[in-house]
Amino acid sequence: MDDYTVPLRDIRFVLDHVCRLEEITTFPGFEHVDVDTVDGLLVEAARFMEEVFAPTNRIGDLVGSRFVDGEVVTPDEFKKAWRAYVEAGWNAVSGPPEYGGGGFPHVVGFAISEMMTASNLAFSLCPMLTGSAITVLDDQPDETLKATYLEKLVTAEWTGTMVLTEPEAGSDVGALRTKAEPSDDGTWAITGTKIFITWGEHDLAENIVHLVLARTPGAPPGTKGISLFVVPKYVVGDDGSFEENGVRCVSIEHKLGIHGSPTCVLEFEEAKGWMVGEEHRGMRYMFKMMNQARVEVGLEGLAVAERAYQKALRYARERLQGRAVGAPPHERSPIIEHPDVRRMLMTMKAYDEAMRGLLYDVAGSVDRSRHHPDDVVREAAAARVALLTPVAKAWCTDVGVEMTSIGLQVHGGMGYVEETGVAQYYRDSRITPIYEGTNGIQAVDLVLRKLPMHGGRVVREYLAEIEGLDAPLAEAGPRFAAMRRELAEALRVLSEATTWLLGRDDPRDVLAGATPYLRMFGTVAGGAYLVRLALAAAKDGEDPWLRAKVATADFYARELLPSAVGLLGAVKAGAAPLYALDPEQLAPAR
């Protein structure tokens, strides 16, 4: 069975105690939102995703989206689920009300997104990218573009893509060569080849709205010369009629995972496009889309790990092997009784909940940055989102892959064979550290751009907030003693690493420490979210579920958090050890 149960109580708990949903519903623009209604929505969305989307995951892997006679054909199950999704209107929950959206807080849509992503990662990329396209189009000033596309994107009758990558332009987007030539009617003719375009072509929607980066004639080199264009698969006439446009899918990739998601090579030949905003400012607009998508990719790390955890837990309770210490003689114990299997399950559970804390904090901060009545709070929230975005993306996807690997390990040999289905989680999640800016690029973003924001004030404030947990931890009693001790130590080390990086002049040293620093940051931040949730749980009462929150945070503090401390050496080692060998010396010798 390929069951998935939405961890609804966990999601609700994080919404309450990390996002402070109740406060968010009081912001201007959310007059129609209250916590009860959100509850009702989440309950129904959970049922829908479990029953309609989750069962399509396996078939997506086995059959996949296929390229047949120049067309991308999705599995029939996808088409049926997609129709139900559009009809139920789930795509519209957080969408702009002027264009048919429900105008709910971003974080509510985010929770639904977690459910959908865990149900079927490959499939969820289509609505995820559509959501990012909505954000870009809603933010830009051209009313005609809004009127033409937004309503259909909000319902998900049409879907969106993000089109950056070219063979010579991956991490280095500035190297892209796709051209945009002005036409007489004020539109642009787009020509070039784009690769790796997720859901770039498919048979689920009537129309596909590509957001394409291209270069106008005489544009300066690098990212400063890039402009953003809307290029629809079908050009929409004033009467709503469709006309073919010069964009076609040439092939799709064979991949390690996410077989349900078509990854397309798109050929643009004088395709008709409309410029978004001003010329040469395309990267700025695209960054809006990418930032939102990066957090969503972080969410993918969590979502697949959660599903892998649920499956591993079921297996560990059923599989009988060996006799656990203390079990009656001749009993064959379920493997969950063995300490090493327990460790694996606890590790998965603890990291899952830590990731959820971090990710939902970012999503809730997005709402604060857009809707809080006080502009000082809005700005601070926006800075927090900026700081945490690379951590949310990279830490959650690195950890996510590790958790799917552990989930496979719990299954032993059965994990390695495909029938069990756990190998799929591992293969699927492996893309998440790569796309939407590799995790290496996220680490660079964190140390070069995010740490120095406002002279380091943003990161200092975030660390001070974690330090603020010390007082409530001290008051909370002996159950919290290990959390207090380990968090203080890990935070001390994170502060030291931060100060070291901010004080370095040689960028090579900073870049060399970037990846271990990001890992350290995520590990400490994750621990702090678990601590907050544990403190809230202890206040809420004593049912077993609430007690588990305290025990999980305690486990993380004792067994996982100390790994952050061990990274300090790597952060501060500088570039020299990395370059001690020249490429010749790296090569094998005979």
Binding site: T5, D36, T37, D39, G40, L41, V43, E44, R47, F48, E51, V52, A84, E87, A88, G89, W90, A92, V93, G102
Partner: protein, 258 residues
């Protein structure tokens, strides 16, 4: 056509619920959910109402709580709900439940009453038939297909071998089986609209019942005791020595399966 659908709020079956130690009654939390088996009744009600430009009214006897379960049924598309919620009703047995629902449905008026075959928390499976008796109308049961037109109700009644075609004049009560129609998922819009839909809350007194008519006092049944389901016995393992099929045949015959 005016369609009444009985819909029960029950504790979420996903989380274990308690029985109170004195009376063995289900302890009902504030946020109960719609009984899954009632989704079929609601779905059939909605289909019939859509075909006849009729209305669907939900009837529910339960502590109102947050009304989450009722809102779920309203979100599917029902027009309004009547909830009989009263501390005096606590401890009512199936007969009292039928009496109270009948009074509420009578008061509202109806052409057809739809109910599930039995609830997921109580499993008595007799309320709909008693309800028909109180209303003085025919009772049709185990419908896996329902048509209602021109004053006649016609159903396919599920039997072990197949189905019977059964007809009755309207008004009537019908119970529907699970799994024959696919209940629709509430839409986002439907969920939002459900918040605005009318929910009338009635007390026992509003329906003319005194304290002795309902609740434990008015009920003829008491639950004497409750015992946990015995743990499943270990299965019998037949090692295949080449002749295992004979052994399996014997087991199946003993179990009267073949």
């Amino acid at each position: 056509m005016k369609i009444a659908v009985c819909a029960k709020q029950i504790p979420d079956p996903a989380t274990p619920y308690d029985l109170d130690p004195d009376h063995h009654w289900v302890v009902r939390p504030d946020d109960q959910v719609l009984d899954d088996t009632d989704r079929y009744g609601v779905e059939i009600g909605l289909q019939l109402a859509e075909a006849s430009e009729g209305t669907v009214t939900l009837f529910s006897m339960s502590p109102a709580g947050t009304l989450q379960g009722i809102r779920q049924a309203l979100a599917m598309g029902a027009d309004k709900a009547v909830v009989i919620s009263d501390p005096a009703l606590k401890g009512s047995d199936a007969a009292v439940t039928a009496k109270v629902l009948a009074a509420a449905i009578e008061r509202e008026g109806y052409d057809l009453v739809i109910a599930g075959t039995e609830s997921t928390d109580g499993y008595t499976g007799v309320v709909p038939q008693m309800l028909a008796e109180h209303l003085g109308v025919p009772s049709l049961t185990f419908a896996k297909h329902v048509e209602a037109a021109d004053g006649t109700l016609r159903i396919h009644r599920q039997t072990p071998e197949g189905y019977d075609v059964v007809e009755a004049a309207l008004p009537a009560v019908v119970t529907v089986t699970a799994g024959v129609v696919e209940p629709r998922y509430p839409t986002f819009k439907g969920i939002m609209q459900a918040k605005q839909k009318p929910v009338e809350e009635l007390s026992a007194a509003d329906l003319g019942f005194g304290a002795d008519d309902v609740g434990a006092a008015g009920s003829g049944t008491v639950v004497e005791g409750v015992t946990p389901v015995p743990a499943r016995q270990a299965g019998e393992i037949v090692e295949d020595d080449g002749e295992a099929y004979l052994k399996i045949l014997e087991i199946l015959e003993r179990a009267k399966v073949i």
